[in-house]
Subunit: 230 residues, 2 copies
DNA sequence: GTCAGTTTTAAACAGATGTTTGAAATGTCA
DNA sequence: TGACATTTCAAACATCTGTTTAAAACTGAC
């Protein structure tokens, strides 16, 4: 009953389920995925999921685990760049591999799409994901951004700048449906990785270079200074 | 049977349904919302939705319509700013009201949250939304960004820069679950509108000022030049 | 070949959910 | 008031979906 370690033993059905489930979950998300569709794709009986993974959620979190490891080896964050490479270069590499992880729809990349969904409509698995995958990447980006900003920049400012970079990247993952409707015949549908990487890198580097003192409170036009209510 | 124009006649149930539905749809999205919960909140019978709006989707699109008009008057995009105000100022106002529309969780703002959901997990209503709401805003932003970039900047570059700005904004709307988990005790949960507006405005203005020639193709480190497959 | 353990299977179960129905209630207007 | 249309209601209907069950099929060691 302990399946926690995929302990060899040709569990062909189990593997087929993981494979099919990855496809379906990445395509339609946890909620909209049906066990029946997954089992059909896997050529298995409806009861197979419950037998091998306890329940739908067990299958989901296992898929997340497996695909996570897969993605990590497929698109390593540092992309084989030396740790002492110039920060500008490390930023570009970080942005490129992030874009690949999240945007690429090749078969290898169901993880990115699952992550994108998990960010917007979280399941119970998000906590684990944040700890194991998102947090380390955030730290890495903070380190890069920190070394691109003047020494002594407060951590909060570093964080805000990092988030501005991540936001630009994730936008293309989250809002693709809107983009393709905005300008159907434009290049939106057919984004080239290099072009996008270069734009976001340049845009962000320019912003970082020009980082004015620190955005501590300054009154501006028509500002109402009210917190965004929760 | 033609309810297309809300033709007076004190249809109290109809109104209550629209009100309750706006709450529920904004909270949990179209899929996860149940007619039974909406009707209970509205103090109406389960059949009421089908009677007044044909079906669940009819109710949804009507809610979207009504809330759209409401939001437009609540958070006007130009925020009462003169059309000939300096572009820098127009950008700041644009960013602030966008943030308000999308992030604010006050009662008035169910539309922003519905839009955010619609962008990530579209329903049939997205086409209409893009045409009526998103497209005009995109044009407005393009105009602002265009006038901040050197004359003669190709439209594609203007678009990329605009998207970088929108991405920063929407990030906070879409990824809040992740943010609050990343640093639970930090200011993530309690974002102040002014601080955020100022950061994104400065970040973007700096990037726009420094807009290098045009990011037309240049080979960089470890670049693989492969399009992001669809 | 037998037998214990594992895996698969068809069927049914249980609950949720959008929708329909036909009667009852309510409102409108002459 | 009485006749007609509109609106509400409880109940049932039809699907869909995750899960369980108990029997059957399979596997591998002896």
């Amino acid at each position: 009953m302990d399946e926690s370690t995929e302990s060899g033993g040709h569990a062909v059905t189990r593997t087929a389920l993981l494979e099919a489930a990855a496809d379906v979950f990445a395509d339609v998300g946890f909620q909209n995925a049906t066990i029946r569709e997954i089992c059909q794709k896997a050529g298995a009986n409806v009861a197979a999921v419950n037998y091998h993974f306890r329940d739908k959620e067990g299958l989901y979190s296992e898929v997340l685990r497996v695909q996570g490891r897969l993605a990590q080896s497929r698109f390593p964050s540092n992309a084989g760049l030396a740790d002492d490479a110039p920060a500008e270069q490390r930023l570009e590499v970080f942005i490129r591999s992030f874009l690949q992880r999240v945007l690429s729809e090749e078969i290898a990349n169901r993880h990115g799409r699952m992550m994108a969904r998990e960010m917007v409509e979280p399941t119970a698995a998000l906590d684990q994901l944040v700890r194991q995958i998102i947090q380390p990447q955030a730290n890495q980006l903070h380190e890069i951004v920190g070394s691109l900003l003047p020494a002594g920049t407060p951590p909060e400012t570093v964080r805000l700048h990092s988030l501005s970079i991540v936001g630009q990247i994730l936008f293309y993952a989250h809002c693709r449906p809107v983009l393709s409707r905005l300008e159907p015949r434009s290049a939106y549908d057919f984004i080239e990785l290099d072009q996008l990487t270069q734009h976001i890198t340049r845009f962000s580097l320019a912003a970082l270079r020009d980082s004015s003192p620190t955005p501590t409170r300054r009154r501006t036009a028509s500002s109402s200074r009210r917190p965004i209510s929760r």
